[in-house]
């Protein structure tokens, strides 16, 4: 450990003695956050939005800046040692190449902890002390700030009915009927039959899912939310967060909405809470209901009725349509978890950078890791985009490539903390849940898979580290190509 620490310490000394780099870091991070907070404080608007904006931009900027810094330092520290041949005097000493790499990683880990610690401490103070004190807050504003931003809330989406069996039954019947009617056409074209089956399956699935999200005038829908565990069941609140779309725009862009809530289906046992709201469409709305309406097992049923007065169909999209949120912790703990996830990302990049530096030159390694980083940040977008206008071969190729790219956007904590959402991957529980689904032969829900992506990325990172180590261990450090 002494030897690993010696390498780590040396790297830290090297970076901290780069005066221009250090000045740059201080200027960029500290000055940026201070100036931005000062500017926000001068501007108009609700304080919760100011804090949200500040958290979003400052944390994203810090993460991005430190990520770039980590990539450059990780690659430079190895490639410069090799290029300037300082590695000759190190690897000929009493230290293995593996320990040398571990020392470099440890150095980067401590440096990142140092830089991240300083910047997020500044951000925390500015977000929780400086900005809220900018003006005299009314109790409602303060409550809003504490309830929406400076908190940690978990979000639960409704259970969507599994339509696969229904779709299959319908498609089989449809295909059989088609084959009966147009036997001659499909007899020698099994590919055409398969294509027809796929198109029908997609269309029917879409239709059935839309049925679960669309509510025509005068009709209703009941959503079932599971596993809601509010911290204060007696006096606390759970929040209904929704965003409506419509098939035809109403005249004033507003919708009348009727709600009912209860631990069991309100239609069977009667709701414990009722209410009517008037809301603007395509905008996120949120209202609180008493936490005691949730059953001890964590079940909550939400009844929604689209009054006939609206005369348009209300649509609640699957991902953003409706969600129940409830407070499970404080902002400080959430902020710390955010830092941990930010730190994990920086460590990932450090490992990738070191691994690339063991066998590539500085510019090539930087280019490669930057491409991986950008692809990782855009991976959700890429997954969504490949459904459009791309052939099957291209889709499959992109999917295969993306398997080997860490999906940074899947576990980006900044969008969560800015909305006051609980930053937690709960890797263990989610893994167990996924195993339950898998052993029961059911499809693993997307939100669980999303949270398990970090595990896949960890495996990828370990693989990259192993490859880098094996190359470095067997590499001729004094090799010249003539």
């Amino acid at each position: 450990m002494e030897k690993i620490w010696a390498i780590a310490r040396n790297l830290m000394v090297e970076v901290l003695r780069m005066r221009i780099l250090m000045s740059f870091i201080i200027l960029i991070t500290a000055a940026y956050t201070f100036i931005f907070a000062w500017w926000l404080r001068q501007s108009r608007g609700p304080v919760d939005e100011k804090v949200q904006t500040f958290l979003s931009y400052s944390l994203s900027f810090t993460l991005g800046f430190l990520a770039l810094l980590t990539i450059f330092i990780a690659i430079a520290t190895i490639t410069r040692d090799i290029q300037r041949k300082e590695i000759f005097t190190i690897t000929t000493k009493c230290i293995t190449r593996g320990r040398y790499l571990m020392g470099k990683l440890l150095g980067l880990a401590v440096l990142n902890l140092f830089f991240l610690g300083i910047t997020v401490a500044i951000i925390y103070c500015l977000a929780t002390i400086y900005l809220p004190r900018s003006e005299e807050l009314k109790p409602a504003e303060h409550e809003r700030l504490e309830g929406i931003v400076l908190t940690a809330r978990r979000g639960v989406k409704p259970q969507i009915k599994d339509v696969r069996a229904e779709v299959k039954e319908w498609v089989d019947a449809k295909v059989e009927s088609e084959l009966r009617d147009r036997r001659e056409v499909y007899r020698n074209n099994p590919d055409e039959v398969e294509k027809m089956r796929r198109v029908l399956t997609e269309e029917k699935t879409k239709e059935l899912i839309q049925k679960q999200t669309a509510v025509s005038p005068g009709s209703h829908i009941v959503w079932h939310f599971r596993d809601i565990q509010p911290r204060d069941r007696e006096n606390g609140l759970v929040f209904i967060r929704f965003k409506q779309d419509v098939d035809i725009n109403p005249r004033d862009d507003h919708m009348e909405n009727e709600w009912m809530f209860g631990p069991e289906d309100p239609l069977l046992r009667g709701g414990m809470g009722k209410g009517r709201t008037r809301d603007i469409i395509r905008t996120v709305h949120e209202f609180g209901i008493p936490a005691r309406v949730v059953s001890p097992q964590g079940d909550l049923y939400v009844y929604y009725r689209n009054p006939t007065v609206n005369r348009v169909t209300a649509i609640f999209p699957l991902d953003t349509g409706i969600e129940v949120t409830y407070t499970v912790g404080g902002f400080t703990g959430n902020f710390l978890r955010t830092i941990v996830l930010m730190y994990v990302r920086l460590l990932f990049l450090a490992v990738l950078g070191l691994a690339a530096g063991t066998w590539l030159s500085f510019p090539t390694a930087v280019l490669m890791i930057l491409v991986i980083y950008v692809l990782g940040l855009c991976s959700n977008f890429i997954y969504d985009a490949i459904h459009w206008e791309t052939g099957e071969v291209l889709q499959s190729t992109i999917r295969i490539i993306m398997v080997f790219i860490p999906n940074f956007s899947a576990w980006d904590p900044v969008p969560l903390i800015e909305k006051g959402r609980l930053v937690s991957l709960d890797l263990g529980p989610n893994l167990l849940r996924a195993l339950d689904y898998w052993t029961a032969g059911e499809k693993i829900p997307a939100d669980i898979l999303q949270k398990l992506i970090l595990l896949k990325d960890m495996v990828l990172c370990g693989l990259a580290a192993l490859i880098g180590y094996l190359i470095f261990r067997s590499r001729e450090l004094a090799r010249v190509i003539v």
């Binding site: 003695r17 300082e86 000759f88 000929t92 000493k93 009493c94 190509i481």
Partner: protein, 433 residues
């Protein structure tokens, strides 16, 4: 110290390194079928012009390059082994140190890599800094050092672990004459203390002064190999060194020589020797230091660090043990040799001179020796003469024909001088010869 034979520290057989181009085609044969065997305690020199394969050989011995064919073993194990590295000190051709560290931090860093304890690191760092003459500039970062100063700190890092095997690649490159002289003295001293030194250089004078055996490489192949004595002794010529002689005495000597070697013709040369520039330089710098002239550069070192000795000896009392080992060595004592060289009489009960005072003694000796103004008489004997003045012949054989009218006292004087020079078997290592 007596060299332990049949205890090879470095061995190689058929060692070959071929560098490839980008496409994997074999392009340059850097080392070709090299067979080496370096024994414990030897100072071995790898000589050769640029590109002859010296550094490539060293890099293969250190595991920085892998042989294309053949094998090599260092301290009984394959190169690159961590346990082997713990016993090796390596000074690369250009030091390759971190420029942002200062001298003390550099040595501390390398000490940590060897797992040395904090007190050990501190003690050795101070000792080595003192030894290489950088004790006064430890706060400056290495990036601000001159090339020679970097070389000195590079040497110090190579010695931090008190290595059994010291591999020095062009150790005197970029050094001033003081540093060069100091490194040569250090190598000699380490050799006397039982260390094995592999020295790689194209500066022939350096190798000649310090090595027991040398190997001349060209085109990656061994062209010649043997002891320095074997390779450099010129058996066809004799050199006599004496204090200033009168023209009559010189004429008589010349007469005797012509009688002994009638075919010598105009190959007999009598001259007053010039001082070597190195000696003059060292004397002037020594005087400046005595006068305490200020400098921001390296100072003259303080001799060899005490801890550089047998690894089995406790460091605290290693100094006494080392001194004892050195002073009771059967072959010779370095200090005695140096004193004799300088013309200082070495009594039978001479006390061992502390290593850190050796340099000053040598310098003072050099100053004194310049006053002797020796005359060198050099002859070339193209044909073997039975009674020629060879180094291997006994003094009695040198007595000239009695019927010649030669001043016997002159010959006695000459013989007396030869006896004293023969009393030092380490003549080949004398940097002043």
């Amino acid at each position: 110290m007596a060299k332990k034979q049949n205890n090879p520290i470095i061995q190689s057989a058929g060692l070959t390194k071929i560098f490839l181009d980008f496409w994997g085609h074999q392009r340059v044969v850097a080392v070709d079928n090299l067979d080496l065997e370096i024994q414990q305690g030897e100072v071995y020199g790898l000589l050769g012009p640029n590109g002859s394969g010296k550094s490539t050989t060293i890099k293969m011995l250190l595991g920085l390059l892998y042989p294309t064919r053949g094998w090599c073993r260092v301290l009984g194990r394959p190169p690159g082994n961590v346990k082997v590295n713990a016993r090796i000190g390596y000074l690369p051709e250009e030091s390759y140190l971190y420029p942002f560290l200062n001298a003390r931090e550099t040595l501390d860093f390398y000490g940590r890599l060897f797992g040395l304890s904090r007190p050990q690191r501190r003690q050795r760092t101070e000792s080595l800094l003192d030894m290489v003459g950088l004790a006064s500039v430890t706060r400056r970062s290495i990036g601000e050092y001159s090339k020679g100063m970097i070389r000195r700190i590079g040497l110090a890092q190579a010695l931090i672990n008190d290595p059994e095997l010291l591999i020095l690649d062009e150790p005197t490159a970029g050094l001033d004459p003081i540093g060069t002289r100091q490194i040569k003295d250090l190598i000699l001293e380490l050799g006397r203390r039982g260390k094995t030194v592999l020295l790689c250089s194209h500066l022939l004078a350096d190798v000649e002064d310090v090595c027991d055996r040398i190997c001349i490489l060209y085109g990656g192949k061994i062209q010649s190999q043997g002891t320095v004595q074997e390779m450099l002794t010129c058996h066809q010529r004799t050199q006599i060194i004496s204090p200033t002689l009168s023209p009559e005495a010189i004429a008589k000597i010349e007469y005797i020589i012509r009688a002994e070697a009638p075919m010598a013709g105009d190959q007999i040369e009598v001259s007053t020797p010039r001082e070597r520039l190195e000696e003059v330089f060292l004397r002037i710098v020594s005087e400046a230091q005595t006068a305490e002239v200020e400098t921001s550069g390296a100072m003259m070192g303080s001799g060899v660090s005490d801890f550089l000795g047998a690894s089995t000896v406790q460091e605290d009392d290693s100094r006494a043990v080392i001194e004892q080992l050195v002073s009771t060595d059967e072959d010779y004592s370095g200090e005695i040799e140096m004193q004799e060289k300088a013309g200082i009489e070495a009594g039978p009960d001479l006390e061992p001179v502390a290593p850190d005072s050796v340099r000053q003694e040598v310098l003072e000796g050099l100053v004194d020796s310049s006053a002797i103004e020796p005359v060198i008489v050099e002859t070339d004997s193209s044909e073997p003469v039975e009674k020629s003045l060879t180094t291997s012949s006994e003094p009695e054989e040198l007595s000239g024909p009695e019927d010649e009218s030669v001043d016997q006292s002159v010959i006695d004087n000459l013989l007396q001088n030869r006896k004293s020079s023969e009393s030092s078997p380490a003549e080949k290592k004398d940097p002043d010869n």
